[in-house]
Structure formats: structure tokens, C-alpha cells
């Protein structure tokens, strides 16, 4: 995995707004992960088309934040979820 990897939510993993708790949650096989605003912002951008670097560029412009720091945050977040088999990657 690198900053040029293209992450995606594989089949069986989806974002859901939990009306009862008022929280965004990622639903996956045998897991329900409650998301903070940052996590939700990142996962909402995964489209299976753009790389981590491209998504970081987009979010950096949107939130007026340093691109490198955002890329590292995404990289760390995505890598952890990929280890749990909750995020997949487009075949290069």
C-alpha cells in the first residue's frame, strides 16, 4: 500500500447513519464501527477511482489544511481498516 493506492469499500461494507444514536457508522461483516467526523469524511471520499494522494489533495483544499499531514492521516486510517479486511484496494 502506498499513497498511490486506490482504496474502496468492498462489497458488504457500507456507511450508514444511525438515527437512534445520531452517529455515522461503518457496517461491515461482524463489525459496526462508529465514526468520528474525520473518519466519516475520509470514508465518504472512497470511490474506487481516486488514490489516497488525490483524496488528500481534495480534503486539504476543502478544509484548508496541509496536504501532507492529511495524506498521512488517511494512510494510517486506511491501513488499519485494510488490515481488518474492511477496506479493499483497486487492483493496480
Amino acid at each position: 500500500m502506498s499513497l498511490d493506492s486506490i482504496p474502496l469499500l468492498p462489497r458488504g461494507v457500507r456507511l450508514h447513519f444511525d438515527k437512534v444514536r445520531g452517529k455515522n457508522v461503518l457496517l461491515a461483516p461482524e463489525r459496526s464501527l462508529f465514526l468520528d467526523d474525520v473518519g466519516f469524511a475520509i470514508l465518504s471520499e472512497l470511490d474506487g477511482k481516486r488514490s489516497i494522494r488525490q483524496i488528500a489533495g481534495h480534503l486539504a483544499a476543502l478544509y484548508n489544511a496541509p496536504e501532507e499531514a492529511i495524506a498521512n492521516d488517511i494512510d494510517e486510517f486506511v491501513s488499519d481498516l485494510a488490515d481488518k479486511q474492511v477496506i479493499g484496494f483497486c487492483d493496480a
Partner: protein, 365 residues
């Protein structure tokens, strides 16, 4: 008893649609007294239960049994659960899932399949399942699951008779394209308790299993995820059963009784309500059985004063009942429990060669 307002809504629901099953695994998690078909909830009632569950905060429904494919209305129920807003997981042996039915389940929006695995070869797997041809059927179902693209978890149920095959089980999970594998050592409740002498692993097997899982977890990082449920008689501290009684999940039986866990009916002092006599929400928040072991007030001093009180919540109530004969005792697995010697004596006796020679297969009485 906790104040109702401090009780969080449940996250997951296990819906046991039926106790009917073509297999008769001797460790089945269903109760020893199985519920007959005539008493099963009908389609409309189940769909109403799914809607109630979603409205009170349940996010995932695990559709199980028995074998849920034994229900003719399975596709309709999956559709109803998805329409209610739930993430739908099907827990199945695969037997009864034809190609046509799998395609219908895909159409209905089924999110994920958990396929049970009794062994790595037809002869040994069918001996455990008590159903000739079950293994071959399961392999065909697994191929169709992969072709459709359902995310797949293999649930490898492990015990003394098959633990030595663990590396092959993991290889099989990879070959079948599973995304996750649950290496689930049998927990001794219900039918498994009846067959404990045949199922109890040896210490050598347990040590091997831990090593194999740790290594495989590393080797397959990013391609196959592992969940490991160790055999808890060998543990020093109990597992946090259900993440704490009545805190995250509930279970609905084929005839509509609502339980805090699938084995809760083994505790004779508890009375359970059904979905036909009260709302799911009322049962969750106010039902006597759900409040019986919530919080810490019910705990013996041993657990109340323990630094692991909020880690394992006193362990499993059903195990305390089964081994110590007292559902309010500390889980006897705990090293600090006054009943730990009973667990040790069991291990000693049951891991001798030829402790038991035949299975008492699951059956309707």
C-alpha cells in the same frame, strides 16, 4: 439493577428463525430442548421484529437457526430485514442453499454470509455434522458464493477431533476466497456440554492452535482476517460474555422468546418474554431477565472488588450455572473462583485417552 435510562440500545440481534437443520452437530448451540416447526413465528411477525429492532438501534441482524435455509420464506425475511434498515448476515451450513436461492438472496440485498465448517474432508466433516453429503454440498455452495461475490466468513468450529487440522482449515478459507475466518473453539453449553468428553481439546492442541493462529494472522495480513475464540476452560480469566449481560445484543428464538444470550434458558430462575406479549424495546429495557445481571450489583464480592470487573463483567452466567450450579457465582473459569477446581478436574478427566467414544448427536425429542 440499573436505571433504565443508563441502558444503551442493543447493536446486534441474533434471529434464530428455526431449530430445524439437516445437520446434527454434537456441539450445536441450540438448546437441548428444540422447538418444533409448528411453534415458529410466521413471516409477518419476524418482519415486525426486524422493524422494531432497527427502530430501537439494532444495526446488524444475524439470521441463524438451526439452518435458516430450512425456512421457505428466507428470501422474504432477508428482504424485510434490509428494508427495515438492518445489515443482514446469514449464518448457515450451506445445506439447503441452491444456486437459484443464492441468486434470490443476492437480489434481496443480503450483506454477508457466514458459512460453518465442520472439517476439511468429506469423511471427517460429515461424521461431525451427522449428514452424509453435507461437505460436498457445502463446497458447491462456497463456489457459488464466490461467483456471486458475497463477502464470506468461514466459521471453523474447533474441538479435540479436528483441532489438529487447523492449518488445513486456514488453507481452505484462503482457497474458498473467504475474507474472514473465525477459529471458534467449542464453548460448552447445551449440546456441546453433553458431548464435552468427546470435544474437550488437549493442552497441546490449545498451545498449537494459539501458535498457528498468531503466525497465520501475520502471514495473511490484508487478505484474510482472523477471529480466535480460545477454549475458555484453559484460560486464566473468563471471557467478557456478550460484552456484558444485556448491554450489546439480544437473541430471538424460533417461537419468539427474547433472550440476553443463546444459552440463557439454562438458568432456571429466569423468565423470558416473547415478542407476541411485549414490544422488543420493553423487553430490552424493562424485562426482568435482561435486568437480572446488568451492571455490577448482582456480582459476588470477589467480582465487585476485582480490577477486571469492567473487563470481563464476571464472565459467563450460563457457565457459572452449568459448572458451579449458581448463575450468580463468578465464572468458574476464573483463577480466583472458588469453583476453579471443578474446571481443572474436568480437564484432567476429559483429556485422558478414550474419555468418551461416541457423540450424542443433536436431535428433536
Amino acid at each position: 439493577m440499573r436505571d433504565a435510562v443508563s441502558v444503551p440500545p442493543p447493536i446486534a440481534m441474533l434471529a434464530e428463525l428455526t431449530h430445524r437443520c439437516p445437520l446434527s452437530c454434537p456441539y450445536c448451540s441450540n438448546p437441548v430442548e428444540l422447538i418444533a416447526r409448528q411453534k415458529e413465528l410466521d413471516t409477518e411477525t419476524w418482519i415486525d421484529v426486524f422493524q422494531q429492532a432497527a427502530q430501537m438501534g439494532v444495526l446488524q441482524v444475524h439470521i441463524s437457526g438451526g439452518e435458516p435455509a430450512s425456512r421457505r420464506d428466507l428470501v422474504e425475511l432477508v428482504k424485510g430485514a434490509r428494508a427495515a434498515g438492518l445489515y443482514v448476515n446469514l449464518i448457515t451450513s450451506g445445506v439447503g442453499l441452491t444456486d437459484a436461492r443464492l441468486l434470490e438472496l443476492d437480489e434481496a440485498g443480503l450483506d454477508h454470509i457466514q458459512l460453518s465448517l465442520q472439517g476439511v474432508a468429506a469423511q471427517s466433516a460429515d461424521l461431525i455434522g451427522g449428514y452424509k453429503g453435507g461437505f460436498a454440498r457445502k463446497m458447491a455452495v462456497a463456489d457459488k458464493i464466490a461467483e456471486i461475490g458475497f463477502p464470506l466468513t468461514l466459521n471453523a468450529v474447533m474441538h479435540r477431533q479436528n483441532l489438529d487440522d487447523l492449518p488445513d482449515m486456514i488453507e481452505m478459507a484462503k482457497r474458498l476466497g473467504a475474507r474472514r475466518i473465525e477459529v471458534a473453539c467449542v464453548q460448552f453449553q447445551g449440546w456441546a456440554l453433553k458431548n464435552r468428553g468427546m470435544l474437550q481439546p488437549t493442552r497441546e492442541q490449545v498451545d498449537m492452535a494459539k501458535r498457528v493462529v498468531a503466525q497465520a494472522r501475520k502471514d495473511n495480513l490484508g487478505t484474510l482476517a482472523f477471529d480466535f475464540v480460545p477454549p475458555d476452560y484453559y484460560a486464566d480469566f473468563p471471557k467478557a460474555c456478550m460484552g456484558g449481560w444485556g448491554s450489546t445484543g439480544l437473541n430471538v428464538t424460533p417461537d419468539g422468546r427474547v433472550l440476553p444470550c443463546h444459552a440463557a434458558e439454562t438458568i432456571p430462575s429466569l423468565r423470558f418474554q416473547t415478542v407476541t406479549e411485549a414490544s422488543l424495546s420493553d423487553i430490552w429495557y424493562h424485562g426482568a431477565a435482561f435486568n437480572a445481571f446488568r451492571g455490577t450489583n448482582w456480582m459476588p464480592d470477589l467480582c465487585q472488588s476485582c480490577d477486571r470487573r469492567d473487563i470481563d463483567f464476571g464472565g459467563c452466567r450460563c457457565q457459572a450455572m452449568a459448572v458451579a450450579g449458581d448463575a450468580t457465582a463468578a465464572d468458574p473459569v476464573c483463577r480466583k473462583s472458588p469453583h476453579r477446581h471443578l474446571v481443572d478436574a474436568t480437564l484432567e478427566a476429559e483429556t485422558q485417552p478414550a474419555a468418551a467414544e461416541t457423540f450424542d448427536y443433536r436431535k428433536f425429542t
